[in-house]
């Protein structure tokens, strides 16, 4: 019953609007472009930030990453021809973190060594990552062939290596990867597995370090390479002693991440007064990026909101003119027995039909623009469902808000005066 009435009312509204097609189309334009702008702007904004957020998210929102970094040096040491830099995280730090925090699920160490791998005359720069099998639990990568490092590799002190897809292709050039022996720093390492390279799907930039990683057991790395690295510079040599380059700490719950990070930082500061480590908390970065995104959205949203407001005012203007033009009709309806609220309903429905039709066309445009931008400018765009739903709600809302005043004007006309109107 109510549905049938509404259907009749809407049909009447559409019919009336179709009497002045050009006027209705022009009136809708404000809404069309307003809504189109809202969706397109949000899609572009969302696309820009999604990539950054994804990268941060991949680091793991429950993880804390601690990197070794060279402390600020004393100028006195600079004059030495051959010097030894001792800095960074210690094996003892790993022990301390593992043993003293209830909230820490695991702490995974990584020792990074620049080296070179050789297979049958081919050579390729590699970044050896000495780590534990747990690394593969923390940083989840698809295993393309073979297996990841296992505890027994550690126990057996096995000379085994896991390559990335990219590294394997460069080094082995089509040869079967598994069980091939790779010569690294005078030792042979058996390839036991190949994992997917970590590269972003959009393929914008390839970070070479990550692509030529080669994972070996930590104890093997310590035994074979030691902690000292020699760096050859311009006529000088410098040496570094770094026990661990990176620690990834996994915390049991998201809520504990920040407090645990702060606590670990305090503890490490006691043992590292020079501050030769750097902590990064992906969750904090994520929060920051999200808040930047929010600000961005608010700015874009305000701009789009203003254009919607202008669209709404345009609709109100036309509806006011329409009320004046149709004064007699209003008088007739009132004389027959239409109540004020029925007149209000009639004009409101017309306005809402106008604004909603404009809104729907606007959604079409708002979907089209990001699609074109992605094709033409190669920029990622993401149309979020909520922006589309928001647009529908806003266009209906604008119809009601800006339709209310003209509708009230129409309803408050004196029927006698309205009937006399020429």
């Amino acid at each position: 019953m109510i549905g049938e009435r509404l259907y009749r009312d809407v049909r009447l509204g559409v019919k009336t609007l179709l009497l002045h097609k050009m006027r209705s189309i022009l009136t809708m334009m404000g809404m069309v472009f307003g809504v189109g702008a809202v969706i397109a702007m949000l899609a572009v904004g969302e696309g820009a930030s999604k990539k950054a957020l994804d990268e941060i998210r991949r680091l793991g929102s429950q993880n804390i990453i601690i990197n070794s970094q060279q402390a600020v040096e004393n100028s006195g040491q600079n004059s030495q021809r051959i010097r030894m830099n001792i800095y960074g995280l210690l094996y003892a730090d790993l022990e301390r973190i593992q043993s003293s925090y209830d909230t820490v699920v695991r702490a995974v160490p990584a020792k990074l060594i620049r080296s070179e791998g050789r297979v049958a005359g081919r050579s390729q720069e590699l970044r050896l990552v000495g780590t534990t099998p747990e690394w593969f639990d923390l940083v989840q990568r698809e295993i393309l062939a073979g297996r990841q490092l296992l505890d027994r590799d550690v126990e057996q002190n096995a000379n085994v290596v896991v390559l990335t897809e990219h590294g394997a292709r460069k080094l082995l050039a089509g040869r079967t990867a598994i069980d091939t022996e790779v010569l690294i720093n005078q030792g042979y390492y058996k390839v036991i597995g190949v994992i997917k390279s970590e590269s972003t799907q959009s393929g914008s930039m390839q970070t070479p370090d990550q692509n030529i990683d080669a994972y070996i057991p930590l104890n093997v790395a310590i035994e074979r390479f030691g902690d000292i690295t020699t760096i050859r510079g311009n006529g000088s040599r410098s040496r570094e002693l770094v026990e661990l380059h990176q620690l990834i700490v996994e915390v049991d719950k998201r809520e504990h991440v920040e407090s645990t990070a702060a606590s670990i930082e305090r503890m490490l500061s006691v043992f590292h007064p020079k501050g030769d480590f750097r902590m990064s908390v992906p969750l904090a970065l994520l929060r920051q990026a999200e808040s930047t995104q929010r600000t961005f959205n608010i700015v874009l949203g305000s701009i789009a909101g203003i254009s919607l407001l202008i669209g709404g005012i345009g609709i109100m203007n036309i509806m006011l003119a329409s009320v004046t033009e149709r004064t007699r009709e209003i008088g007739i309806r009132r004389a027959i027995g239409a109540q004020r609220k029925q007149i209000i309903g009639q004009f409101l429905i017309e306005t809402v039909v106008l604004s909603m039709t404009g809104g729907l066309i606007g959604i079409g445009i708002g979907l089209l623009i990001p699609w074109i931008i992605t094709i033409v400018a190669d920029m990622p765009t993401v149309v979020t469902p909520w922006s589309v739903m928001l647009s529908v709600v806003i266009s209906v809302g604008i119809g009601i808000i800006f339709g209310m005043y003209p509708a009230m004007r129409a309803a408050n006309l004196d029927p006698i005066e309205a009937l006399r109107h020429e």
Binding site: E329, I332, R333, A335, I336, G337, A338, K341, Q342
Partner: protein, 245 residues
């Protein structure tokens, strides 16, 4: 709908006015458009109201049509005093008890003949199929059954007025109010409209018609002449169904 036909009183009196005044404030002067009108209109009677311009006949019609309230006095329509009714209730009274016929037809241009006729039932919330049935029978009655899909602009004046009559009958009103129904029509067409009204009266409808043409007023049973907001005279016509065949 708060007023339905079951509430209609069985009394012979449809309308009664007791000492009705309608006063407008013009600047610092009070103008009495109606100055103490007493009137009783019986069910099934046919009244013509005439009078010179400014005599108060338009005000009278607006009041009888529940488009306006009296400043003082009592107006009862079907036994209900309209002095204290709200705007919505006045609308309901018009929708339930009254049918309007205007000098300039007052059809809504963007609606078809059928939709114009069905308008009162649209506001009564009557089912569409039921409304269609009723509008068809009324259109047949005024001889426009083949014009249901047309727009008012595609019809002659006489046809438009017949659509208006069908629309006014749609809600089975207690009273038909006609404001110069032949004023915009040539004599022949005007006569055909009067024929329909007389026929409706013969079938028992109560009709109140405002006109300034004596020959049109002669169709009514009672001729009421207004002067200076007062009832100047009421004349009884003997030839009630006075249209020669």
């Amino acid at each position: 709908m708060s007023f339905d036909s079951s509430q209609r009183s069985n009394s012979d009196t449809v309308i009664s006015l007791e000492q009705v005044w309608k006063t407008y404030r013009m600047g610092d002067q009070d103008v009495h458009a109606l100055a103490g009108v007493d009137l009783e209109i019986k069910r099934g009677s046919f009244w013509a109201i005439s009078g010179s311009s400014g005599s108060g006949k338009s005000t009278m019609l607006n009041l009888l049509g529940c488009l306006d309230r009296p400043t003082s006095g009592v107006y009862r329509l079907e036994g209900q005093d309209i002095a204290t009714t709200s705007d919505d209730e006045l609308s309901d009274l018009r929708l339930s008890y009254l049918g309007f016929i205007f000098q300039n037809f007052n059809l809504i241009q963007q609606l078809t003949v059928q939709e114009n006729i069905e308008l009162p039932l649209f506001y009564q919330g009557v089912d569409a199929s039921e409304a269609a049935k009723k509008s068809r029978s009324l259109a047949e009655r005024v001889g426009l059954a083949d014009r249901m899909g047309h727009r008012p602009t595609e019809l002659s004046g006489g046809q438009q007025q017949r659509v208006a009559i069908a629309r006014a009958l749609m809600n089975d009103p207690s009273v038909l109010l006609a404001d110069e129904p032949t004023g915009n029509l040539d004599t022949a067409t005007g006569d055909s409209i009067m024929e329909i009204l007389t026929e409706l009266h013969d079938q028992g409808k109560t009709i109140i018609m405002v006109t300034h043409e004596p020959e049109i007023a002669a169709h009514a049973q009672h001729e009421l002449v207004m002067r200076d907001g007062k009832v100047a005279s009421i004349t009884q016509n003997n030839a009630t169904a006075g249209v020669p065949a």
